[in-house]
Structure formats: structure tokens, C-alpha cells
């Protein structure tokens, strides 16, 4: 009987420990969630405040009618789209080529691509101003230069995401199979590499777009009008409008991340793999 009792204690021990571990994990999760959600909830509540401590949607309804809001929203969306297109056109073939022909340089190129993370935004902005002083009008003083700057800022996300995607597929064999069957390099890129990097390309696109939609410092230093810049300026006059605009940027970013997750899962289900 004693032996049975000992056995019961022995088998319950780890279970109790596991239970404590789970509670601790949940506790950490809840604290982390509150850390993020409380400010967001407070901001949403603030943006919904009406007169005499009431709540309504008037600030959100008026948001799109605010002077400059729509123009700056469109500029930011165009910048996001432009950045994504330039980044992908530049980085997908480059990263694939590095994997195929210059695999020894992967670490060096990764280090170079991570540089924008360690260079302060103000240095980047000043560098651009100095480098392109006297440049053509279509470049300087237009969102084009900002898009090019954002391409550089997006390099850490795009390179790492594409590099991981390319590492997860037998790239050399697939490319050689495509070439062998009669495909040109461009066809191989578009019909073999890109379809098998769908998830990585989507991830890189959405991370880049999210970065552009929330970027303030460089746009402000280059005197560009984007949604984050407009939001900060609007906040100096009407805090509720600025908060609603910030929330909108957050919602758009989340929507993009959700899209990324859905498309990623659908792609993985279809081919039975990720990458």
C-alpha cells in the first residue's frame, strides 16, 4: 500500500510541476498581452471620446474629411507599393543569384543588408540629402527618393526573409531542371523561383509595407508629407484625430499581417510545404 502511495506521489510530482510551468507561461503571456493591449485600448477609447464623457464614432467619421489626411494616406500607400515593387525586383533575383553562384558571399551580403538597422535614421536622411544635392527634380523633393530610401531600410527584412525561403528549397536542382527543360533565366526566375518563394515574397512585401506605413523620422527629415508625418502634425492641434489616424495605421498593418498569415497557410496547405 505504501509502495502504491509512493508511486502516486511520484507520478503526480512532474504533473504538478508541469501545471506550475503552464500557469507561469500563461501569466507571462497575459502580462505581455496587457503590456501591448492596454495602450492600444486606451488609444481606441481616447479616439472614441465625445463631449461630456460620452463615446461615439464622430472622430473616426470625420477622419477622412480632415484636410490633407486622404492625400497623405494615398501617398503612404503609394510609397508602400513602390517600395515593395522596387525591393522585390531588386532583391529576389539578387538573392537567388547569390544562392546559386556566390554562396560564399551570403554572410557578407547579409551583414551589409543588416546595416540599415544599426545606422541611425538621421544619418541615413542626411546622407541622402548630401548625396542627391543637385539631383534631378523628379528624384529630389519627391516621394521617389523616399521610396528608394525605404528600399534600403527594408533590406534587413527582405534579405533575411528571402534568404530563409531560398534555403528551404532545393534551388540549384530546381533551377537546373528548369534550364534543362528549356527555360531561359527569366522564365526560371518567374516560373520556378518566384512561385516557390511565394510565402517568403509575401512576408517580405508585408513587412516592408508595414515599415513604410509607420515610418516617421526619415520622411519628416526629408520634408515629405506622409500619413505618419500628418498624424504627428495633426496631433499638435487635435489629439483625438491623431490617435484615430495612428490606430488606422495599426489596423492596416495588422490586416496586412493577417493576410500574410492566411496566404502563407494556404500556400503551405496547397503544396504541403512552407518556404
Amino acid at each position: 500500500m505504501t509502495a502504491v502511495a509512493d508511486l502516486t506521489v511520484a507520478t503526480q510530482g512532474p504533473r504538478r510541476k508541469l501545471g506550475k510551468g503552464r500557469v507561469a507561461a500563461w501569466l507571462v503571456l497575459v502580462i505581455a498581452a496587457l503590456y501591448f493591449l492596454i495602450p492600444i485600448a486606451a488609444s481606441v477609447e481616447f479616439s472614441l471620446r465625445g463631449v461630456h464623457d460620452t463615446h461615439d464614432l464622430s472622430t473616426w467619421e470625420n477622419l477622412f474629411g480632415q484636410p490633407g489626411f486622404l492625400d497623405n494616406l494615398i501617398t503612404s500607400l503609394e510609397l508602400a507599393a513602390g517600395t515593395v515593387v522596387i525591393t522585390l525586383v531588386l532583391m529576389v533575383p539578387t538573392t537567388a543569384w547569390v544562392h546559386l553562384r556566390l554562396p560564399k558571399l551570403r554572410r557578407l551580403i547579409e551583414a551589409i543588408c543588416v546595416l540599415p538597422l544599426v545606422i541611425p535614421a538621421v544619418v541615413l536622411a542626411n546622407g541622402v540629402l548630401v548625396a542627391f544635392r543637385g539631383g534631378p527634380n523628379w528624384l529630389t523633393g519627391t516621394p521617389v527618393i523616399l521610396a528608394l530610401e525605404y528600399v534600403v531600410l527594408a533590406l534587413p527584412f527582405t534579405y533575411r526573409t528571402l534568404d530563409a525561403g531560398l534555403s528551404s528549397i532545393p534551388l540549384t536542382t530546381l533551377v537546373e531542371a528548369g534550364r534543362n527543360l528549356g527555360a531561359s533565366w527569366l522564365t526560371v526566375l518567374l516560373r520556378v523561383v518566384v512561385p516557390n518563394l511565394r510565402t517568403s515574397i509575401l512576408n517580405a512585401s508585408i513587412l516592408s509595407a508595414a515599415m513604410v506605413l509607420g515610418e516617421f523620422t526619415i520622411a519628416n527629415l526629408l520634408l515629405m508629407n506622409t500619413l505618419p508625418v500628418w498624424t504627428v502634425q495633426a496631433g499638435q492641434q487635435d489629439g483625438e484625430v491623431a490617435t484615430a489616424a495612428s490606430m488606422l495605421i495599426l489596423i492596416v498593418t495588422w490586416a496586412l499581417l493577417l493576410l500574410m498569415s492566411v496566404f502563407g497557410q494556404r500556400g503551405a496547405r496547397r503544396t504541403g510545404r512552407s518556404g
Partner: protein, 357 residues
Amino acid sequence: MTATIEPSTEAKPGSPVRLAGLRRGYGQVTALDGLDLDIAPGELVSLLGPSGCGKTTALRIVAGLEHSDAGAVFVDGRDITKVPANKRDMAMVFQSYSLFPNLTAGENVAFGLRLRGVSPAQRSKRAGELLELVGLNQHYDRYATQMSGGQQQRVALARALAIEPKVLLLDEPLSALDAKVRVQLRDEIRGLQQRLGITTLFVTHDQEEALSMSDRVAVMNAGRLEQCASPDEVYTRPATPFVAAFVGAMNRIPGIASGAEVEILGQRLTVTQPPEVSAGAKVTALVRPESVLLTPAVAGTVRVARSSFRGPVTRVTVELADGTEVDSDLPSPAAVDLRPGTLADIRFAPEPVMVIS
């Protein structure tokens, strides 16, 4: 514009291939050292050799996936050395699974046809026919991850055949498969190759595969061609000691040279090529295990060291007086009495043997 090619699954005259003086080096390492090889139309030639002998490099140069430092590749008499891989009209089945993961089996097979402008209806029909040819017509809509390794290689073979290549290149396509599937698939590949009459270059390090599938076997060593002959000739009349040692098992038995003969353990055997030594010199005779005959004898001259049952044959290893071990492959029923420690008489089949000094 839609192409109007009407591909078939029947034999067409294959294309002759000629490799002339191919050389390729990687830094200090010479992968190919002047490879010359002629492949007749519709012939299947295997490049056989140990790892690093240059066989895959040769295949990749033929495919256009690598360039040679010197030499040329001719197909149908035309020098294609500078022609890019996508314009060579060749198809390759790779060692690793190479199906495009984003496409179904049918779409994979139709890939090359699509590049050639074949209409969707035609290429779908053709892909179905080829999948049927490799016994996978039920797998048209399956992705690579939903198929076994053997099925994936069958689809890869169908994809290669779909474009009706002038030359089919096989880069150890069976090496990743389990033994049973490997044997089954090699017979299927050989059957299809003969039926379609496609000139085929097959790279393998597995001598059983090479001997069983090929019209001719080209044995390579250190970037050079040691011998290119029929499987029977390579096995029974190896041109060099390397071929003799690499293809099949081979005993090295001390003997005494005697002109066109060699004396081993009191028995005289003719030699394939007399060694450049004087009569009476000590030489080494190379004798296949199946040419070594053993019979149990109370006053036998050799002692059985061990035996290893291999199904229809049993390999019995005996020890000579000087300590040399000699393998003998005997029909299993004949080896029942040859247990370790048993004394036996040894004889050699009266066949020409190779001798090295």
C-alpha cells in the same frame, strides 16, 4: 502562336553524341582529363566510377550546366559546346528529387511542353499519356510532397521524356530510392529507353545498375576513361587493373609468370595480356570469386576461414598457406559442407585471367 508538335511514345531514331577531349579542373583538382567518348544513336552508355572520378562533371558539361576548360560536345555532328543549357534539347533526371513543388505531377510533366508553346489541351493530354507510361496516370493532380520518392522519380522521368529530347541524361536517379524500388525502376527506365530509342547517358557509381542497364559501360577513374565496352566485356575482360578491381569482386592471388600463362597454386591459366616480365617472375593474378571452385577434402590444401550466405550463392573465404585470403562464390547448396575450419581443394575455372606484375 501554338506549336503543332504531335509527340509520340514510339521509338524515333536517336541522336549520336560525341565527347571530344573534355577537360575540366577546379583549382588544383582535375575533374576531367581529356575524356573522349562516342555514343551511338539510341544507345545507353553508363559512366561508372568511384566518387570524384569526373562522371557527374562530364554529364553536367553535356547538359550545359557546366563549362569545360577544353574539348567539345557534339550532338548530331553539331558542336554544341557553347550552346546554353536551355537550347540543347536534352532532358535530365537528377539524383535529388527535382519536381517543382508548386506544380502537380501533371503540370510538372507539361512544364517543358508549355515552354515550347504546346496548347493547354495538347500538353494536358500528353502529360496524361506520359504519366500513364510510367504507371502514374492516377497521380496527375498530386503534388511532389504527396508522392513517394520512387513516384517522384517516375514523374521526373516522364517530365524529361515529354519534351522528346535528343539526349536523355540520368544523374544517379535511383540512388535515393530503397533497394526494391531501385531494381524495379531501373528495369522500367531501361525498357522505356529501348522502346523510345533515346540516346542516353547514365551516371552511376553502382556497378550492378550499370551492368544491368547499359549497352556499354564507360569506367572512369581520376578524370580519365579506363575502358568503354559492353557490360560482359568490362566484367570478363577488364582492360586495366583498375577496371578489374572496381567492377565486381576480384581476388589477388600470387602466381608465377610463364609467357602467355600464369601458374597459381599449381594450375596453369592463360592470361589476357602477358605482363612485361620474364618467365618465372612473381606476379599477381586477378581472379573472380565465381571462377574459384572449392570442394571439401580431408587432405585439402586450403582451410575455410568463413562463409557468408547471400541467397542463391554463398561466399566462402579460404586461407592459403601464405595467409592470402581468397573468396569463392559457390551455389549455396554446394557450400553447405564448407563450414569454417573445413579443409578443401581449390581449383580455378579455365578462363583467361588478368595478371599484374
